[in-house]
C-alpha cells in the first residue's frame, strides 16, 4: 500500500483539484494506494510515501520521509501522469 498525499497551502483548493488528477494517474499504474489531501503544515506530521505539491510549497516539506514531487501545472494531466509513473517506478525499484 503506497500512501500518497496531495498537498497545498490549506488542503481545500489546489490539492482537491490535484487529487482528482492523481487518482486517475494512480489507477493507471495499477498500484495499491491510499490518497488524501492535506495542508502543508499537517503534511509534515504525516507518514507518507509520496507527496505531490507545488514548487512554492515543496521547500517546506524537505525533511519528511516522503518523496516530494513538484507539479508545475495542476491542469496538465500529461505532466501528472508522467510524474506519478516515474515516482511509482522509483518506489518499486
Amino acid at each position: 500500500m503506497i500512501r500518497v498525499f496531495a498537498v497545498c497551502g490549506m488542503g481545500l483548493g489546489t490539492s482537491a483539484i490535484l487529487k482528482t488528477r492523481l487518482r486517475a494517474a494512480l489507477d493507471a499504474t495499477g498500484v495499491d494506494y491510499m490518497l488524501d489531501v492535506t495542508d502543508a503544515s499537517a503534511a509534515r506530521g504525516q507518514q507518507a510515501d509520496l507527496i505531490f505539491t507545488s514548487a512554492e510549497l515543496a521547500e517546506g516539506l524537505k525533511g519528511t520521509s516522503a518523496k516530494v514531487v513538484v507539479v508545475k501545472n495542476f491542469m496538465d494531466r500529461e505532466e501528472i501522469n508522467q510524474k506519478v509513473k516515474e515516482a511509482i517506478e522509483e518506489l518499486q525499484s
Binding site: G9, M10, L12, T14, A16, T53, E56, N73, F74
Partner: protein
C-alpha cells in the same frame, strides 16, 4: 427546459451573474485577488474578512495558487468568512505577476468560498474540468464584457 445548473453539472450554478467581471485593469495581484474576492461578498458567499484572508494566504503561503499558466485560484479557509459555496472570476485586461515560478503572468483570477471543507468539492472539480479545456480558456479570454463572460461559463459543457 433544462436549467443551467443541470446542463453544466453544477458549474454554471456556482457562478451567479454578479460573480464575473471581464477585462478589469488591476495594478497588481493584490488588487486582482481583492476584486475576485469582492464578487464573493457581493453574491453572499463570503464576508469582507474573507477577502482580507485570501490576500493574507497568498502572502503567507506563497503564490502556489497560480495552478496553471495564467490561472490563479484564490481562496481562504471556511472559518475565515466562508458563508456559502460560491465561485467568482475576474479576467484582466493586462496580466499581473504573482511571483509564481512556473505560471506567471496571470490574467484569469478565480476565487471561491465554502462554508466547510466539503461542500465546494463537486463544483471545484467541475471548474477544474472546465479550465482544463484550452477552448474554454480561449472563450473566457475573448469575452469582451461581463454578460459575454457569464454566458461562456453558463454554456460550458
Amino acid at each position: 427546459m433544462v436549467d443551467d445548473a443541470e446542463r453544466t453539472g453544477g458549474l454554471g450554478a456556482s457562478f451567479p451573474r454578479e460573480a464575473v467581471r471581464a477585462g478589469l485593469r488591476c495594478a497588481d495581484w493584490r488588487e486582482a485577488v481583492r476584486e475576485a474576492g469582492k464578487l464573493l461578498v457581493a453574491t453572499g458567499a463570503a464576508t469582507d474578512d474573507y477577502v482580507d484572508a485570501i490576500v493574507r494566504a497568498v502572502e503567507e503561503l506563497g503564490p502556489y495558487i497560480v495552478l496553471a499558466p495564467g490561472i490563479a485560484l484564490a481562496h481562504a479557509r471556511p472559518e475565515d468568512g466562508g458563508v456559502a459555496v460560491g465561485f467568482s472570476l475576474v479576467t484582466l485586461a493586462e496580466p499581473v505577476e504573482f511571483g509564481s515560478e512556473h505560471n506567471d503572468p496571470v490574467d484569469l483570477v478565480f476565487a471561491f468560498a465554502s462554508p466547510d471543507s466539503e461542500q465546494h468539492i463537486t463544483a471545484l472539480a467541475a471548474l477544474a474540468d472546465f479550465i482544463e479545456s484550452d477552448d474554454n480558456l480561449a472563450r473566457i479570454r475573448a469575452a469582451n464584457d461581463d454578460e459575454e463572460l457569464y454566458r461562456v461559463i453558463q454554456e460550458a459543457n
